[in-house]
Symmetry: C2
Subunit: 305 residues, 2 copies
């Protein structure tokens, strides 16, 4: 049973205190798919231009990512460039060239529509909604969004997430969406919007999982060097949904519980931490499932008492 991933496939230019890369594979759907590929078979829905490199396609294919849904059209692939602050907690966007992504209107291949798992990367909420409507046998669906949609497309976004099982956003987005600065107060307001599960990502400080009757907090992994945080949040999403898909959780069966979701949050944290260890997607070229499971156990060790 596979996972459908929808979102941007891009080229990124990134500058961090550890160095600078002019152009490398990026985009939310890329990071989500690569991270999820260690758990399940992601089927990617996205759009690229005719400049999309064969070696990048091959990297995704080599990780088992199904690319039937990756549309290739004349023009240039989405390009983003940014520069991180010395402490990596802030970044400045230097360039955003939507290119072919501006007209992205995701149409799912027929074979994707019966898949049980769906992860909607951060795109226009109406597009996220149209993708969900194309899926016929969903067991678990959710996704990400961002400040821009929360502020300027609020009604569309609310209609979209009302149909989701889970929402994965960061702390500032949770505050903006709920109108509440305190996260413990923000969470019930967001859960009242539809999703039964809310994951609030806190960057280097980890993540919080909220459900109606309980919550779970994981601290961030202490990396010795953060080379490039780009994509870490998407890799979190990929690890989270990837693990749930691997386990075959079916919401309707009622089998999915807090402890399953907590383990999914840990796998999300693990994948986000690996992402930061190299520039772009580089860490995923060599990463093994054994390393992933070892870091999962490391999380247990440094949080148990």
């Amino acid at each position: 049973m596979s996972l459908v991933v929808v979102g941007s496939v891009a080229y990124d230019g990134v500058e961090t205190p550890h160095g600078r890369v002019e152009r490398m594979l990026g985009g939310a759907a890329t990071y989500i798919s690569l991270a999820a590929s260690f758990f399940t078979r992601p089927r990617l829905v996205g759009i690229v231009g005719d400049d999309f490199a064969e070696e990048d396609r091959q990297l995704l294919a080599s990780r088992g990512v199904d690319l039937e849904g990756l549309e290739r059209v004349p023009g240039k692939t989405f390009f983003w460039a940014g520069k991180y602050s010395a402490d990596m907690n802030d970044r400045e966007t230097l360039t955003t060239e939507l290119n072919v992504f501006a007209d992205f209107n995701p149409k799912l291949p027929e074979s994707y529509r019966k898949e049980p798992y769906l992860l909607l990367g951060n795109i226009q909420p109406a597009l996220q909604r149209s993708v969900r409507a194309q899926m016929n046998c969903l067991r678990l669906a959710g996704g990400d969004t961002m400040n821009f949609w929360i502020k300027d497309y609020r009604e569309e976004l609310l209609a979209t997430i009302a149909e989701w099982d889970f929402l994965l956003i960061n702390d500032s987005e949770a505050r903006l969406l709920s109108g509440e600065a305190n996260l413990r107060k923000a969470a019930p307001r967001i859960l009242a919007m539809g999703p039964h599960t809310l994951v609030i990502k806190r960057g280097e400080y980890g993540a919080i999982l909220f459900r109606e009757d309980s919550y779970f907090i994981v601290p961030g992994y202490l990396l010795e060097d953060v080379f490039d945080p780009t994509g870490a949040g998407d890799c979190f999403a990929g690890g989270f949904i990837g693990y749930l898909a691997e386990q075959g959780f079916d919401l309707k069966s009622g089998r999915i519980g807090r402890s399953d979701l907590s383990r999914a949050v840990i796998y999300g944290s693990v994948m986000g931490s690996f992402c930061c260890e190299r520039f772009g997607v580089d860490r995923f070229r060599e990463l093994t499932r054994a390393e992933i499971d070892a870091r999962f156990e490391e999380f247990r060790k440094f949080t148990s008492f």
Copy 2:
């Protein structure tokens, strides 16, 4: 077996988004002693002026704090006033009047000198060192410091903490002391300065315990309302050392291990979280050990997977 606590006893003026108090009991030794009093019998060493109110002395006494070491001299008690930002993560000092605290030269009552546990609140490093030298039967000693001493009294501070078992500081202090922005790299440098145990406090994000061969991370407790964070770090220290004193840990016997210290970090976090629920020391007037132990179990629940 008791704990000797050294540090400031003060009056504080505090303004937070939840309100304003012109003058209330405060000071590091006050918060440390009150928090520790739920676990052991703290014996306080400090100095106050003749304006120190009988009701404040009685509050400490009612919690079982031994006040033989609280010197009372002509003049005014140390006064500090500050104002917190809307998100409580920053505060501005409005007033610092050292008053009688300017001439604090701690002399321990004879009966204090054979106690096994010592917590040195944030005061001039040479004074911390002189206190430690007055103790004859120490099992476990450590304390806190601050940016000012790290920057301007570095040599004195290094000589002082070289004799400590543990150091409790916040993340910005750890960065300043080690000269290393990354906490995982900062920790071994600080441990090389003497203490076998380092606790880095991260405010709302919790704390990290570092030892030579392992580390433990606890996320912060999610409070619905942070009324007043003043003293939370000191209450963390009080809970940490209070639990270790209650358990009777003896470093020399080798019985103290990572899991004992991890539980101490949780009790520290519990006491810090209660501190923030009311202005000043108010939460400790009614708090019970049952509430403390219930919150300890809550930490286990929201961090276990």
